[in-house]
């Protein structure tokens, strides 16, 4: 009888684990965000990241030192969104992987766009983030014009954690 109870107990433990897992997966299947107040830094991968500006551009102009004069236009119906950010890595045990994405209405998410235009402020590279060094970088996104006025901010994505994704907004 005692052994039977043990078996039933083991089965119950398995079922409880399965129910917990399904519930946890259900809660975390939809990404969750925490929007920071304007100008306040978000924390991700041991790094504080602040959004300095978020501007809309109909044309992406070459602002690099050699200034080729080249510029890039978005596809019809799209618009560039240029995010200027600064970050400080303060945890030497962690790496900031530069996964910045633009958050729009109803959790629409856009990854950084690949452009062929040189820029004065460089893009984000994980190797640039020495500990306690302030790094300024730029991220360019292409979004449909109809969502350009409904942006929530820049999401600092870290898929390795189930914590809410911080969303930073310009001052």
């Amino acid at each position: 009888m005692r052994r039977m109870l043990c078996a039933v107990g083991a089965l119950a433990a398995v079922l409880i684990y399965l129910i917990w897992w399904v519930t946890y997966a259900g809660i975390h299947y939809t990404p969750r965000y925490a929007v920071r107040p304007p100008g306040v830094a978000g924390e991700v991968q041991g790094t504080s990241v602040r959004l300095l500006s978020l501007t809309r551009a109909e044309q992406l102009v070459d602002t690099s030192e050699d200034k080729s004069g080249k510029s890039e236009f978005p596809d019809p119906g799209g618009v560039w969104i240029v995010a200027e950010l600064e970050a400080v890595r303060h945890d030497p045990g962690k790496t900031f992987y530069c996964d910045t994405q633009l958050l729009g209405p109803q959790r629409r998410l856009w990854a950084r766009a690949a452009t062929g235009v040189g820029r004065a402020i460089p893009g984000c590279l994980p190797d640039d983030f020495a500990v306690d060094r302030l790094v300024r970088f730029e991220a360019v996104f292409l979004v449909p014009i109809r969502y350009a006025d409904q942006l929530a901010g820049v999401a600092l994505v870290d898929d390795s954690t189930a914590a809410r994704t911080p969303v930073i907004t310009p001052p």
Partner: protein, 194 residues
């Protein structure tokens, strides 16, 4: 009459526990098997099919025995290539990501030639060619099936769009393919949905 074999209670408990665990595992496997829970969404060539993540349409079907890219021959087939030009539009808040495709008919499933996926961020649409190498004698009723790649799926939709190759016109498709090249140089473009 007594039952000839008697299990000690410890063994009986072990057997029951093993059976219970196998049953739980079977339920888990069943839940993670997409085949039993697939919702087929059917369409016709040229018209967008609406499903969970957006819309998918088959815009054009090209056939040939040679694949070319940037004026160079990339491959030749002893059978025939079928290039299905599709457009996927992420009309909802979620990205459109169709990572799996097959060309199926009554008794045959063709995998894609090379890796192909249709991906579009929210508010964008993307067009691409999905290429298959098929047996020319078995092309009647070929239907494109596409779906999202998922490790565990509780509810999955598959889009099915027939290519319009029927028993009546199959010979015309076979003749059209013979010795013909398919250019796949400009096979991928993404743009905002107007």
């Amino acid at each position: 009459m007594r039952f000839p074999i008697r299990f000690p209670s410890s063994k009986l408990a072990g057997v029951l526990a093993a059976i219970a665990l196998v049953a739980v595992s079977a339920v888990g496997l069943r839940l993670s098997d997409p085949k039993g829970t697939v919702d087929m969404v059917s369409g016709v060539p040229g018209k967008p099919v609406t499903f969970n993540d957006g819309e998918l349409s088959v815009d054009r079907v090209r056939v040939g025995t040679v694949l070319t890219q940037n004026d160079e021959v990339r491959d030749r087939s002893a059978g025939m290539f079928v290039a299905v030009a599709v457009t996927g539009a992420a009309t909802g808040p979620r990205e459109l990501s169709l990572g799996s495709a097959e060309l199926v008919s009554k008794d045959v499933h063709y995998k894609t030639y090379g890796l192909t996926s249709v991906f579009a961020a929210p508010g964008f649409k993307t067009s691409t060619d999905i290429v298959f190498e098929v047996d020319p004698s078995r092309v009647e009723g070929l239907t494109l099936e596409m779906w999202r790649n998922e490790v565990i799926s509780g509810y999955q939709q598959r889009v099915r769009i027939p290519l319009g190759i029927t028993a009546a016109n199959a010979n015309q498709w076979r003749d059209a393919a013979r010795g013909w090249g398919i250019d796949i140089s400009l096979s991928n473009s993404t743009r905002p949905i107007p």
